[in-house]
């Protein structure tokens, strides 16, 4: 079949079964947009900023596990997309960003809207391509989808010069693909797995340290089985929220900087850490020399470079978690006796009772944690939850009752403010049957507020709940704790009227100043089935606790703050 480069892009997306793409047109990508106009296989959502297009593709991918796709033009279109690529890269999310580029003959001449896009995207993508010949395009597109979703998933960027999108070439979309230089290891080494199980059997205080890799691999069901059968307690990273049900008696909460006391003590006192798909982020480990000092470490990851990067690992296992846990299960059935760990579980339960995750509720002011908890009680597992970045993000991770993987969509590695709303838009396109709620802050929401137009136009009924503290709250908290309350550039008392703002876009706006008004606003927003902003005025000076100050040790948490 002879096709133009642009037509090849459309055909490839059809072959990959892509039903929704996000993007923003411009000069260098216009040929592709002309073909998008002519087809009706997939829907194109016009965002109002390229960053949002990429976050939306990312949110779609996180909610569904499928590859998200975004289109942008050259130059500023592409540079606007970079934050989206970096965000997806840090959290190993499979997306493809296709950018226009100036014609090949003009590359290197500082042409209008020329930027070295592959030069910029190289360190924040899993792989990238500059397409120099239309005949390579089908193979590149096929490879891009394969690379994005296989192994450790990640974003792939394809930069297509305008003349290549117009050139005609032979279109043969490969059915199968094999890249001789790229062969992820899927199956875990059986000997290593046996040794790991033996270590679990020997241990007195083992702990499962569950990470985002479990979600990427689709291994949550198997992990639930492994945890419940072995009776070994577990803690989750931010990216793993929902792997276990929030009410699983073996789950001792999230670990790390704002993790629970029990989770961090468990890590500190364990004699064996069974790390399934986490990456020992510095927000999790605290001071490295004090991290899990008494423990041997089993680390399972599909990315060999993740193992041994931060800490020394005693039992490295490279493989897809789904396979590895599947291999582990029968051995665990044979060898492991849950009763052995009863004292250890009892100790952790005690830690949890001494310092449970909690907040001091109030009837005078609305506590942000209360809003999240209440939302959880009202919508629970009916909603997929996204967040922006800051205090509200941590409170959501702490207090929302997550019950399944992919229910929680948040920018963990990069911590990108402005992620939540566009990601929610993408997620809603992927899981139409669910409510999608974005918890945001009064700072973050303004970073992609223009997406109200996208959501209204494309009828994507996402609910934004702003926990409005008139501050860049998380930074304010650090200023309170570590900078003697010098609130440098964090006071956001100057605010838009969010109700009018929503209204001007044709969205619903609600302002909640009293607890009793919240439920009504939320129910109205849900019933209206329209894009909504619920602006909730919360306690200005509430802090996220407990906290391991940066560089501190997990076993020495700050449990309260006294003014």
């Amino acid at each position: 079949m002879e096709l133009t480069g642009s037509q090849m892009v459309i055909e490839a997306l059809k072959k990959e079964g892509v039903k929704t793409v996000f993007g923003y047109p411009g000069g260098a990508i216009m040929n592709v947009y002309d073909e998008i106009y002519k087809q009706d296989f997939f829907e194109h959502i016009l965002t109002r900023h390229e960053q949002a297009a990429v976050h939306a593709a990312d949110g779609y991918a996180r909610a569904t596990g499928k590859v998200g796709v975004a289109f942008v033009t050259s130059g500023p279109g592409f540079t606007n997309a970079v934050t989206g690529l970096a965000t997806a890269y840090m959290d190993s999310v499979p997306i493809i960003v296709i950018s226009g580029q100036v014609p090949i003959s003009m590359i290197g001449t500082d042409a209008f809207q020329e930027v070295d896009a592959v030069g910029i995207s190289r360190p924040c993508t899993k792989h990238n391509y500059l397409v120099k010949n239309v005949n390579e395009l089908p193979k590149i597109l096929k490879e891009a989808f394969y690379i994005a979703r296989s192994g450790r998933p990640g974003p792939v960027h394809i930069d297509i010069p305008k003349d290549v999108t117009a050139q005609i070439g032979k279109f043969e979309y490969p059915e199968e693909i094999s890249i001789p230089t790229y062969k992820p290891t899927y199956k875990g080494n059986a000997k290593q797995i046996k040794k790991a199980i033996e270590a679990m059997k020997q241990a007195d205080r083992p702990i499962f340290y569950l990470g985002g890799g479990i979600v990427s691999s689709g291994a949550a069901e198997l992990v639930r089985e492994l945890v419940s059968f072995t009776g070994i307690p577990a803690v989750e990273t931010l990216m793993a929220r929902g792997v276990l049900r929030h009410d699983d008696p073996l789950l001792f909460g999230m670990l790390g900087m704002h993790g629970s006391y029990a989770a961090n003590m468990a890590m500190s006192e364990a004699d064996l850490i069974i790390a399934l798909g986490p990456r020992f982020d510095d927000r999790v480990t605290g001071k490295l020399s004090e991290f899990a000092k008494h423990a041997k470490i089993i680390h399972v990851d599909i990315d060999p470079s993740s193992i041994g990067k931060i800490v020394k690992v005693d039992y490295p296992i490279v493989g897809d978690l789904k396979n590895v846990v599947e291999q582990m299960l029968p051995l665990a059935f044979d060898r492991i006796e849950s009763s052995k760990y009863e004292n250890w579980r009892e100790l952790l339960r005690r830690y949890d009772q001494i310092h449970p995750l909690s907040f001091e509720d109030s009837d005078e002011v609305i506590k942000p944690q209360w809003v999240i908890k209440r939302t959880g009680e009202i919508v629970g597992d009916k909603a997929v939850i996204s967040t922006d970045v800051g205090q509200h993000q941590m409170w959501t991770a702490q207090f929302y009752p997550f019950t399944y993987p992919r229910q929680f969509i948040t920018s963990g590695g990069l911590g990108t403010m402005g992620f939540g709303f566009p990601a929610a838009i993408g997620a809603k396109k992927g899981v139409q049957e669910k409510l999608v709620i974005n918890f945001s802050g009064d700072g973050s929401i303004l970073m992609n507020i223009q997406e109200l137009m996208t959501a209204v136009e494309s009828k994507i009924p996402v609910i934004n709940i702003i926990l409005n503290n008139n501050f860049l709250g998380m930074v304010r908290q650090w200023q309170t704790f570590f900078y003697e309350k010098r609130y440098s550039q964090t006071d956001l008392s100057m605010q838009p009227d969010f109700v009018k703002l929503a209204d001007s876009f044709g969205a619903n706006g609600y302002r909640v100043e009293k607890k009793e008004d919240f439920e009504k606003a939320l129910n109205e927003a849900i019933e209206s089935n329209t894009v909504s902003i619920i602006d909730v005025v919360v306690d200005r000076f509430e802090n996220v606790l407990p906290m391991v100050p940066a560089g501190g040790t997990l076993y020495n948490m700050m449990l309260e703050y006294k003014d």
């Binding site: 190289r122 360190p123 500059l130 120099k132 690379i147 230089t181 470079s305 041994g308």
Partner: protein
């Protein structure tokens, strides 16, 4: 404890592969002592010889990160290598050249070019010996020296 390491990387010889490798080292703060690259004849592959240094953990990461690059075919780091580098030295003819022959002989060096005003000397040897040669050659008042990176090949 820093140690020196030779890493030989075979990659697909495609657009931008040098910048992927150089960028990996720059972006992650790894050291490059030298980097040499050339296509492998009759293939679509290139071979990089990289000399680097770092702690054991960093060196381990370098190897893994190199392997993680999609166009990387093979990374060899734990073999015994023959390692050679080359230097060219330009010295003026109006210098006192007595002893030059003996020096060249000692290092298996040659005169690569003999011009109207200058000689260009060539040595190819172990890194250490090239350094020694360059020290010794100073007395002939070299006006320019160019030194290559290492190339290395596993001995078995």
């Amino acid at each position: 404890m820093k140690e020196r390491k030779i890493i030989s990387v075979t990659v697909l010889n495609e657009h931008g592969v040098l910048s992927r490798i150089a960028g990996l080292f720059a972006g992650r703060g790894y050291n490059i002592e030298s980097l040499t690259v050339a296509p492998i004849p009759d293939t679509n592959l290139s071979r990089f010889t990289i000399v680097t240094n770092g702690s054991t953990r960093v060196l381990e990461q370098i190897v893994k990160q190199l392997y993680k690059l999609i166009p990387t075919y093979k990374v060899i780091d734990n073999k015994e290598f023959v390692e050679k580098e080359m230097a060219l030295v330009k010295i003026p003819l109006d210098t006192n050249l007595s002893g030059l022959d003996a020096l060249l002989k000692g290092y298996n060096g040659t005169v690569a070019n003999s011009g109207e005003n200058y000689l260009v000397l060539l040595v190819a040897d172990d890194s250490k010996r090239v350094s020694n040669f360059l020290k010794a050659v100073k007395k002939f008042n070299p006006i320019e020296i160019v030194r290559s990176g290492s190339v290395a090949l596993e001995i078995e």
